[in-house]
Structure formats: structure tokens, C-alpha cells
Symmetry: C2
Subunit: 353 residues, 2 copies
């Protein structure tokens, strides 16, 4: 039984090429059927070319027509309203209607968030879904950082909800029994931080969670916490600064290595070391980040995703659908709502669809 | 002629040992005279031991008594008021009175900022001094990131002042003629970001500076901008996340290298590669970050500073004093005040000293 995954064919910076190649990689390696969402005739032509090249005309890839798509330049809120037949909306509707187990896009994060809220709706108790990313640590076990860009100018209650969602994610996907929750701040003592973290701190302490207090930027990579919560602006900057530094280190080490030893040994060594290093840090290996707190699976990848990243995004969506994290989250939020819930504008709007 | 530098002997996490050893390193290598500020009898005993060990009893190091010091746990605002004879206050007074050309501390950043504002005062047009750090980029030229932790919950005008100060720093210390100024945000388009960046963007565009618009976290390390301005909470998280990642990479590569080649070649290679890498990224090589916008030189180092980092902090202070960046900044702010200036509470308070 193949799992149906809807893939936004028009999301990435170089779309639809990485999406088509990524879909082919995915169906060859994973038990999935991919629904490519975008302009039908264009996709059909490109897909046929790629299938001929792959010498396989019978892959489980379907094309689903969408006449519009949202670009990185589009303003999220207005694009979501104006483009009623966008590839994101069509793909997310498939999830809502049970025709796909999950949706994957490498497109505009803000638009994905707004469309998913509108089409799928949020779980009870969740005001704003959060983009959660899994990062490697020197302790061996990964850490979860959220939000990494779906929500800016967060309120303390948003961070509280992120903590509950992150804990659930850690329990069900990373199999950590009692995940340690840290609040990303500048300085470990309770009073340190900005207005947001100082207000969120006492609220987090009241939750029935293993809250370990403030953590600092360096703790993202040392395994001191399993789940680290922050405003999406801060999380996004931290994530992208890390990507930038990882690239600098790769370039800088390649230079150092090639300048210090004979070319042959250096090349061998660096290839092996870099491949290992890449696996632990490269975005394409992680594939994409789930939007937590929605009534359905939505995975958002990097705009610069290549075919491998798209394939891994599809893998993450399939795993996510199978483990049923959303069902667990819904159950948890219904039993223990972290804060009194009032419907948000987007949810009210979502009802009218 | 040696330059007089006042050094907080009680700042770092393991003070006063790294400070004493760092002062000895500094006076042996640099044209400086170091004034060690802290509890006289304790410092005198330790300094004598270290000088005996260094077989040199006539180093240009003086001890200046301060009966109190501010710890990392102290709340900045109250500690500054309560501890009237703190090592920070005594050291900064030496700068104000012209007995030292600069002050160096590896202590509590918030307390250093508050004490420096009170004792030295800010330049005309500057509401809040900023902590500026220099980072390596893959383009070869370094980039300046500010603020990295002295100011949280910034107003748009603060970012505007940071841009003016950063540009001046780039011109006079990095010798960049027309530095490119970027606003740290999430997404490059003007509308992207949070409330703060959206409000700051049009103000920055109006300045007579080479403002290149929004930049993202990854741009900190790729050389797209010479100066990157941000709120201190965001800058601190970005900086510390980078430190954490750099440590993870070092550990991860060491493992990869030692597991893939014979111990001998691996050790040789990794030592050389790591040393090169360390020079480009290690905090101890940079020594400390200047607080820009003060009427005097104040360099703030990392709490975990070792003797090498302290020595480099002293070097930065001496360089800073010699190039006269503050004089240039004062001149610039007097000629082109970025925003109408009204005295802040701390300045009014500073007048009463």
C-alpha cells in the first residue's frame, strides 16, 4: 500500500525541475504515490521527459492541475486570498479531503502557513501552527527547534503552545520519553532575556512539562535540551546563520586541507570527512520542517531544495502521516489545553471555505 | 610609549586567573601597560606567583583596588547602583579621567553596558551603545554584526543608530570605503520581517549610507554586507548558535577524520586544518567586542575567556584607542544626527556622578 503525498510542483526557487526529479527519486525508494500539483500541460511534458530518461514510464506519479502558484515575492496574506487555484491550496485541499496523507512544499513559508491554516485549520488550543526543525547535537541525540519562521512577533502564549507541540513531536517522532524543554534566551538565569521570554518563562514553568528554563544559542547544538522554543524571527535567523556558517566552514576547511597535504590524501580524507559532516548538517538530508498544530500533515522545505531535499521532504511527510503525531497532538490539546482558547481570525475565515 | 589599558580582573567565569595570565601575555607582546582592577591583596599575591613563574618581576602591570565586583548572576541595573566600588566602575572611571585609554572586561554584558553608559556617557545622538562583533566571511573580508547582546527590545531608531555606528567602525577599523549596510531579517524583500524590521527599513533607506536592504542569517558569513544591524537578542542568539555549531563541527570532523585514516596522518592533518579553522572562527582570537557609541573605549569579552582571549581583548582596546573611532563617531553624529536626540534617563543620571 503506497501512501499518497501531494507535492507542490511550483514551490522551490528552481521549480518545477527539483520537484519532478525529487518525486521520481521518492517513488523509486519509498512506499509513496506522489501527486504533483501545478500547471498540467507543462508538468506532463517535463515529467514525460524525465521518465524517458529514467527509462520507466510507469512510476506512481500523478499530475493534479493547479492554474496558479505563489512565488517567494508574493505577500503571503494577499496571495493566499487572490490565488484561489494555487498549487498550495489545491494540494492542501487533497489532504483535507483525505485524498493525500500529507502535503509537501518548498515554497513561500508565510503563504504555506496561511494557506494551511485556512484550508486545514488548526488543532483545538492552537492559535498559530509552528515550523519545527530537527538539528544535530554533539550529544548524539537531535534537538527540535521551533518556531523557525512561520510566526514573528509572537505572544507568550504562542511560545507555550510551541512547547506543548514540540514535546509531543519529541515523544512521538524522536521517541524521547520526557523531553527537556528549553526557552531560547540570552543568559540562563530567569530574569535574562527580552520582554517576550521574561513573560513566557513563568507560563512555561506552570505546564506539566519537563521545562528546564532558559537556554542559549549554543545549546541548540549541544544537546542540553530536546526541544527549544522561540519566536519565529529569532529561530529563522539562528537556523540560517547556522547554514551560512556551515557553508563557510566547509569552504574554509577544504582550503586548509588542500593546502596542507598532498592532493591525493587530502582529497580522499576531505571527501569522507565532508560526506559524514554533510549528513549531519545538510538541509537536503533533513528535507523539510513540519508545520505542527494543523489538522493535517504539511511539510515546508527550503526554497533552495534540490531533488534530494524534495525526496526527503516526501519521506518526512509519509513518516509523519504514519506516526499520527497530529492525532496525538489533538488528543493532548483537548485533554490539557495550555491556554484558554479563542478562535483566531484565520480559523473563523477557514470555517467559511 | 605604552598605552594604558584598564582590565577588569574579576570579569570572566574563572576570574581572576585568566585575567592575570592574559595581562602578562599582553605586556610581553604589546606596547601596553595593564591596570588590573580588583581586590588588591588577592591580586597582588596571585600576580606575584605568576610573575615568579614567568621569571619576570618587572612587567608593566599595576594593581588598582576595587572592593566589589559584579557577577554573571547579578541583575545589571541593581548591581550597578548597589556596587559603587565595583571593578567595572573603577576601571571605567580611569578611562573617563584619562588615566587609561580603554577598559576591558569579560564580565556581565548588561552590567558593563549600564556602567559604561553611566560613567562614560554616550556620544551625542546615541541613545543606546551597541556591542559590535567582527565575523569571518567566505568572501575573505570580515563582516560586522551589531548589536550582539547589549540591547534587547530595540526601537527602530536604535537600529538606525547602530547602522551609523557600524558604518563608521567599518570605515575606520576595517578600512572599507563605502560599507554595505544590511538589515538582518527573514526574507530579502522589503515587506519581509517583523514589526521592528519593517519600521526600521524606510528609516535606514533615508540615511546617507550604502543601505542594501534586508539580509538573512546566512548572509552574516557570506560577505554580502559589511555591516549587519539587528536587535541585541537576535544578534546574541545568532552569535551563540554559530559558536555552538562551530564546536559541533569541530567535534564531528575530528571523529570523522580519526575514523577514516591512519592515526598519524589524521592527527597531522586535523591539527593543521583545525588551527587554521580556529583562527577564523574562535572567539579567543577576536578577544572581545567594542561597545560603540560611548565617550571612551570599552571592550566586552566572553565570560568563558581564556588568557589568550583576554590578551586579544587588550589588543583590541589598544587598537581602538589608537584609531580614534570614538572621535570620528562623535564628529559624525554631531554633523549628521540620525534622529532628533533627547537625553535618556541613564545620561541624565550620568550627569549627576
Amino acid at each position: 500500500m503506497r501512501i499518497d503525498i501531494a507535492l507542490d510542483a511550483m514551490g522551490s526557487d528552481k521549480s518545477p525541475e527539483p520537484e519532478i526529479r525529487g518525486a521520481i527519486l521518492a517513488v523509486l525508494q519509498l512506499p509513496v504515490r506522489v501527486h504533483l500539483i501545478g500547471p498540467e500541460s507543462r508538468l506532463r511534458k517535463l515529467l514525460a521527459q524525465h521518465m524517458r530518461r529514467a527509462k520507466n514510464r510507469h512510476l506512481p506519479i500523478k499530475i493534479v492541475h493547479a492554474s496558479e502558484w505563489i512565488s517567494m515575492e508574493d505577500k503571503a496574506a494577499s496571495a493566499v486570498r487572490a490565488k484561489r487555484d494555487s498549487s498550495m491550496r489545491v494540494g492542501l485541499k487533497m489532504v483535507r479531503e483525505g485524498r493525500a496523507a500529507g502535503f509537501v512544499t518548498a515554497g513561500n513559508t508565510g503563504a504555506a502557513m496561511a494557506t494551511a491554516k485556512m484550508v486545514l485549520g488548526t488543532l483545538p488550543g492552537v492559535d498559530r501552527p509552528a515550523l519545527a526543525t530537527i538539528l544535530p547535537t554533539s550529544a548524539g541525540s537531535p534537538s527540535i527547534l521551533l518556531d523557525v519562521g512561520a510566526n514573528v512577533d509572537c505572544k507568550p502564549q504562542n511560545l507555550v503552545q510551541f512547547a506543548v507541540m514540540g514535546a509531543m513531536y519529541a515523544r512521538h517522532i524522536l521517541k524521547i520519553d520526557r523531553p527537556r524543554i528549553g526557552l531560547l534566551s540570552i543568559g540562563e538565569e530567569e530574569g535574562k532575556g527580552n520582554d517576550l521570554t521574561r513573560e513566557a518563562f513563568p507560563l512555561l514553568r506552570q505546564l506539566p512539562l519537563n521545562f528546564i528554563g532558559n537556554v542559549e544559542g549554543r545549546d541548540i547544538y549541544n544537546g542540553h535540551a530536546d526541544v527549544i522554543v522561540c519566536d519565529g524571527f529569532v529561530g529563522n535567523v539562528a537556523l540560517k546563520a547556522s547554514e551560512g556558517l556551515a557553508r563557510l566552514v566547509r569552504e574554509s576547511l577544504r582550503e586548509s586541507l588542500s593546502s596542507t597535504v598532498s592532493a591525493q590524501v587530502g582529497a580522499l580524507l576531505s571527501r569522507k570527512a565532508f560526506n559524514n559532516f554533510k549528513k549531519r548538517l545538510d538541509y537536503s538530508e533533513y528535507g523539510g520542517a513540519p508545520l505542527l498544530g494543523l489538522r493535517g500533515v504539511c511539510i515546508v522545505g527550503h526554497g533552495s531544495s534540490n531533488d534530494r531535499a524534495i525526496m526527503n521532504g516526501i519521506r518526512v511527510a509519509a513518516e509523519f502521516a504514519q506516526t499520527g503525531v497530529n492525532t496525538h497532538l489533538e488528543h493532548e490539546f483537548t485533554l490539557h489545553p495550555p491556554v484558554p482558547h479563542s478562535p483566531t481570525a484565520a480559523e473563523v475565515e477557514g470555517d467559511g471555505l
